[in-house]
Symmetry: C2
Amino acid sequence: MALVVQKYGGSSVADADKIKNVARRIAATRDKDNDVVVTVSAMGDTTDDLLELVAQVTSHPSPREVDALLSTGEQQSMALLTMAIQHMGYPAISLTGVQAGIKTDTAHRRARILQIDPKRIRRELEKDNIVIVAGFQGISEGEDITTLGRGGSDTTAVALAGSLEAEVCQIYTDVEGVYTADPRIVPEARRLDEIGYDEMLELAVQGAKVMHPRAVEVGELFNIPILVASSFTDSPGTLIHGGVSMEVRNKVRGIAHDLDVAKVTVVGVPDRPGIAAAIFEPLAAANISVDTIVQNASIDNITDLTFTVSRGQLEEVMEVIKPITQEIGARECVSDATLGKVSIVGTGMQNMPGFAARMFSALSEKGINIQLIATSEIRITCIIDEAKVKDAVRALHRAFELDVGD
Amino acid sequence: MALVVQKYGGSSVADADKIKNVARRIAATRDKDNDVVVTVSAMGDTTDDLLELVAQVTSHPSPREVDALLSTGEQQSMALLTMAIQHMGYPAISLTGVQAGIKTDTAHRRARILQIDPKRIRRELEKDNIVIVAGFQGISEGEDITTLGRGGSDTTAVALAGSLEAEVCQIYTDVEGVYTADPRIVPEARRLDEIGYDEMLELAVQGAKVMHPRAVEVGELFNIPILVASSFTDSPGTLIHGGVSMEVRNKVRGIAHDLDVAKVTVVGVPDRPGIAAAIFEPLAAANISVDTIVQNASIDNITDLTFTVSRGQLEEVMEVIKPITQEIGARECVSDATLGKVSIVGTGMQNMPGFAARMFSALSEKGINIQLIATSEIRITCIIDEAKVKDAVRALHRAFELDVGD
């Protein structure tokens, strides 16, 4: 008997009929002689509705109390889904984060899973139960309820699969898998049958919404194959795993884009040791996540330092950065909040020249100006005008022939 | 510093504005130099909404899963109320049933509190926190979430007050206290300043909705004074306690009524030992709560046995009782679902003749026929036509001069 861990997102359990649909899918998995552990998100808009109530009560909610509140969303869907499975005649039991032994740190609203004690889950599996676990939540050492923040339910699922040594972790969502680009922008985008952890991680970090990078990292750590598929169709989905051969392919795997980019440039920075730390340490202290950082070559010991952040954080960034600009003797600090980024990702790019040139010329042919460039071993990212992002994605999809299969 | 335990019902926290109102009342209690522990019900119709979702998913929900689901209602109101208190600048923390150490038996949907381990509550009080506890819920030995059933949040409050040795338990609700009769039926009904545990218990059991008998029993057990008052006004409310003198009064304290009574009569029962057990043991096994039981004097060793149940259980009762009627050789089994009951209650009635006669003649003057009579030391109950109950309450209120103070 194999152990399968499944995760169903909020849109898959948005109402009673959808919950019953998910129950049927779980029963079918059980019928194939599998042990099944399922983790589930809150129904549809539950989390947003609860946050709306919070906003009516206070402008500065305590993260601990927000977690106590939000965790009820997954607890509700978990119980209702369990009832729906039982109604079909299958033995099932629900477990909250604490009952499932999901121990986290104390960082409320963005807690990290420290360990999972799967004692109770194993006991319930031995009793032949299908086990339904509330996603997105855990318990801290001080016995406070925590939530895992964005991507939390995916992370719960993959971490459970890892700690239970499951055969596979299946992430069911409202899309049919991982695509070569966003199909809403590129109609000829192709669903990938499989993708490596590293490639998926780069795509996720660079804006592909289908899976959160945290969950991919955990999958890689435990070497758990992750299937991403639709809960509404029987499409085979995309398998994220570590066994994808890196040698035979010489291709870009996919294109990610992100419409939410703001750029900050500190102009005329005296180029001396410690200057970067003087700028980025206060930003880190303010819990601001800086993305791409580019420093120009220094002329007469004066340089420009540019970085990007998400648009929602720009105002806070400028508050932090303006006094620093003065302190370090830089000339000024300017920002642009109308940017986006587009990335090509593929392990086949490693140590292979020509990808960057092909990317830049494809963008140039469309008259798209590149403002910043950032690269990793398996990725090239260009920061461009937000208004040009969709054109860029389409042009790159064609240039790298992603509509053609492997 | 005195310790005050308060409870706010669902209508008192039905929306964000009402939650803020409750937060102000709690802050005012704290300002009077009290330690404050609060237990809270689910917001408004939350529980009904959740049960509606259950009905859409299954007709036979597992009580364990219903408890996991319903307990989220109190968890939500507890977190929101805590945020509202914090927003006013007061230190506060929320605790779920399990965090508050409320241990129950495993009878899901109607669990009993076995013990409270107030370790965490005490620790939070020592940190100067106002402690907000989710009402109505606890945890079983197997670490499953349980709910306490009807009157659960009141019971949570009084049990917390008992285990913390609080000075008083204040139950805030949408009425101004305990009245001599339901003010919607008897406009001249008077709020009682105080009432004894036993009297309150009889009134509650006989239909007064203001407090659940379970909570009164726990209050008596721990000898915790219980104040019942409105969360919307500053009316002084009614203090339920053990110190009410029994000697000086010679009066009925209040009138309870109940419109939800069905009567079952097993006709022509052979009167031999064990016959009552043969009838009532199967009913108990079916979890049916039987109220008044009356057995006629036996003629030629044949008797009639009559009992009452709530109307919602009548169908189930008849299913259980009909085969038994045959087994024991009784003639037939008949029922009447259009009954109600009216009770007069007062410790002043103990060993004092004349109350029953005055009650019966007051009803008789209004042409009200009495179908059954049941008594305790401090109560007389008459089962009458449902249609006559309100007339009966008014007549008795006048007959015992309850509009006049002590």
